[in-house]
Point group: C2
Chain length 483, copies 2
């Protein structure tokens, strides 16, 4: 499963030279994915999938803790269902993969391979929901979805991707809005705590919202090349879908009413964000909470002492693996230096080196992936020390990314200022906006930057005038070029 031995590390293009190529190199060389023979599709290799399993675990736990349950809805959606909600079909139809034949038989109606599941789920909810007692319905689904994309990049944009999609139905507009914001907060907490990625929390403009939503909330992260990435979204669907799918309930006042709905999702795209926020020229850097391997043990021994050192390394592994995701690299055919490079490239947060002299001294050497500091520590009580190191790494990833985001958040009073920033350092730019779509479009045309969100919290600076038309700024918004 390993790539060729030679030229492993040197094949990662430096970030500063070509960020896009660096990104793809890291994806490939860290063994996260491979290209598939189907256009725009990729294989998530075991190391990348293990990362996704850890992400799923952390997010699924939070989704369940907030009262949601998982279910599974069909992959195929009849074309007529997709067409019921006008904005929704307009948004998604151009990127649908269509099934037209089952075996040798041509279908009466084409089936969409789900690009998202609102329509099929609403069709079921209209059967399941009858009374106010049936509400709220709080269902989540882990699934694959397909969107026929022209330009694709590993994790960031692929024809098929994995995600979770939550779909809820409520008695009142207020409850639906609360749910929309609750799940946005779940995403923020997960991304900031487990992935050490700081985000800006806000609402999308009319032009950028989900096709069919009343409004869309988003968490936006800043990649280390200064471009923004939408990390997760939460939509208040109002009664748009409830009305076209006839999802009604008999309320306590004996009135038949339409439910209020939300939907929210996070995808394998978040792995792209992890790579681009934390990675460096030597490859991947993973926050310990989601790293497939948290600690790698590399024994260092001359041939004649090999067995003695290996025995000690194995004892170490047994001790650690009860508490941490631990890997012992006991391969005979590679040098320690080669192994150091490989595990650094794969982003393992902490390496433990152990050699004959360490054994004599009753110590091991801990080497951090971030910074590379080497610390000899006592062999006794190691588990707690290692846990402490991992906590510290998790926090320092966060601090570093937070500092980067802060240093790369600027302000602009005009389109020219925004344009100058976008052509130089990029990053987030706060600016005033009048609220008109025409100004939003003109800024995008001129600078390549879009409005990432209207922040929910006071951003600490206020744009008085629209950077485009100079009119009164009804909002201070975050602009950025985005993935």
């Amino acid at each position: 499963m390993t790539e060729k031995k030679d030229g492993f590390v040197k094949e990662i293009t430096p970030k500063s030279e070509d960020f896009s190529q660096w990104y793809v190199d890291v994806c490939r060389k860290a063994d996260l994915m491979d290209y598939a023979p189907v256009k725009g599709c990729m294989v998530i290799k075991p190391y990348g999938y293990s990362l996704w399993e850890n992400i799923k675990e952390g997010l699924d736990r939070r989704i369940k803790a907030t009262g949601h349950v998982n279910a599974y809805f069909p992959l195929f959606i009849p074309e007529s269902y997709l067409q019921k909600e006008a904005e929704h079909v307009e948004g998604f139809a151009p990127e649908v993969a269509w099934v037209t034949h089952g075996g040798a038989e041509e279908l009466h109606e084409r089936l969409a391979v789900r690009p998202t599941s609102e329509t099929i789920i609403c069709a079921m909810y209209s059967r399941w929901i009858q009374s106010w007692r049936d509400l709220p319905v709080l269902i989540n689904q882990w699934a694959n979805v397909v969107r026929w994309e022209k330009a694709t990049r590993p994790f960031l944009r692929t024809t098929e991707f994995l995600w979770q999609e939550g779909h809820t139905a409520h008695r009142t507009a207020e409850e639906a809005e609360e749910e929309t914001l609750r799940m946005l907060e779940v995403y923020r907490d997960f991304v900031e705590t487990d992935l050490s990625i700081p985000v800006v929390v806000g609402r999308k403009t009319e032009g950028e919202k989900f096709a069919g939503a009343v409004h869309t909330y988003t968490i936006e992260a800043l990649m280390s090349d200064g471009r923004a990435l939408q990390a997760a979204t939460s939509h208040n669907l109002g009664q748009h879908f409830a009305k076209v799918f006839d999802i009604t309930f008999l309320d306590q006042d004996d009135q038949l009413k339409h439910v209020w709905q939300t939907s929210w999702g996070m995808t394998t795209r978040i792995i792209g964000a992890l790579i681009m926020v934390h990675g460096d020229d030597r490859g991947l850097v993973l926050p310990p909470k989601v790293a497939p391997i948290q600690v790698v043990i590399v024994p260092i021994a001359p041939q004649k002492e090999r067995e003695r050192v290996l025995a000690e390394a194995r004892a170490l592994q047994r001790e650690l693996e009860e508490h941490l995701r631990t890997h012992l690299d006991d391969r005979d055919e590679y040098t320690p230096g080669w192994k150091f490079n490989e595990w650094e490239m794969r982003g393992v947060p902490l390496r433990i080196e152990i050699g004959p002299r360490d054994i004599e001294r009753g110590q091991v050497v801990l080497v951090r992936r971030d910074g590379g500091a080497k610390t000899p520590v006592s062999r006794s009580g190691l588990v707690d020390v290692v846990k402490g190191f991992l906590d510290d790494i998790q926090k320092s990833r966060w601090q570093k990314a937070k500092q980067f985001m802060e240093e790369n958040t600027r302000t602009a009073g005009s389109v020219d200022e925004l344009k100058a920033i976008m052509e130089d350092k990029r990053g987030f730019v706060l600016g005033g906006w009048c609220g008109e779509g025409s100004c939003e479009d003109a800024v995008k045309e001129e600078t390549g930057a879009t409005i990432r969100c209207i922040p929910l919290a006071e951003p600490g600076w206020k744009g008085e005038k629209c950077i485009c038309c100079g009119g009164h700024a009804s909002h201070t918004v975050y602009f950025a070029r985005a993935y």
Copy 2:
């Protein structure tokens, strides 16, 4: 999410009256699934999905413990890939759903929605495997697959279903055969231990093996209507796929060789087996190890004592839920009797009743789903007592199913005898077989029974002559009508 209050239980058709209708009633009324608006597709509702999550967890743990890792391969397979292995395409092409359009654009080559992933995975393995050092490759995938079926039934046969599929590559034929049998044993252990379903372990005949395999091993379970169900299969693929996909490696002797492969899978179909092995006229009966709710607490109190009893029930819940999947049914609008029926229908293994008199006596009442025995037990030290009850229920499910299988395993010396059994009691029938496909086909035609497997272990009885042609019996095999 609940069905209408009236006529909940009485709508389950008795097993003895119409087994098929009983099965569908249990699926629907226990709230495991619902029919989807796409032909042959179903929705796995939260209760059913939670069951699947527990099944996944138990099986995934065993798959990983035997050295396998998970990955994810694309949903779409180019038509030309599917066609490379002649037997494979012949077996699967008639039931493939074909994607012909991406957005508005017609594709150059049709894409199969994966019916199974051997071909796409082999295409990747041919790139990943170069040296003997890369072997074995031990990868598993949890995914959805699609097979365009004519006649469908919930869980047992649906157009789309969920499964895991393992795909491995090895250096030698012996290692591949070992792996095939190792995974068969993993399935047997999981199904017998966690699902309390006894199985017969054996090899499929040439006529019944997987399309493209050298041979297929199977575990076969007996449903309570006397029909068999294939619970999981493990295939030794030999070098069939390696040769057409050119999966080669440089061996230690410097020779370029083709790898030896296996694949193995278990699907959501196993939920159908759970229902049909353990269910009764009151609905579902779930083995504790996989039950979404292991213990349900039902408070029983007159209105004026409601709060006091509820407070105690909540304390009980907090105590139990640290150790067990516990649900407190504190709904005000239903009577205790109604709740008893509902949770029995849903198969919850153990119910705890608590009322004012129980509180005074420092006790609760445990009621088993299987048998319905009521046992007052002391409130103190309850967790261990409940765990003991659940262990006992798990074991007694197993014993009951095992006894049923033994009592319904008969022998036949002729096709007429087999036919008589099939028209009366069904079950497994041991009989001699000469090894010829023509006799296998003739028996099927005559009796509706197929050869389920050639058992790996001595079945304790030997058929001397082929029940069909009367020639020398090279094997003693299990016959049954099957799902």
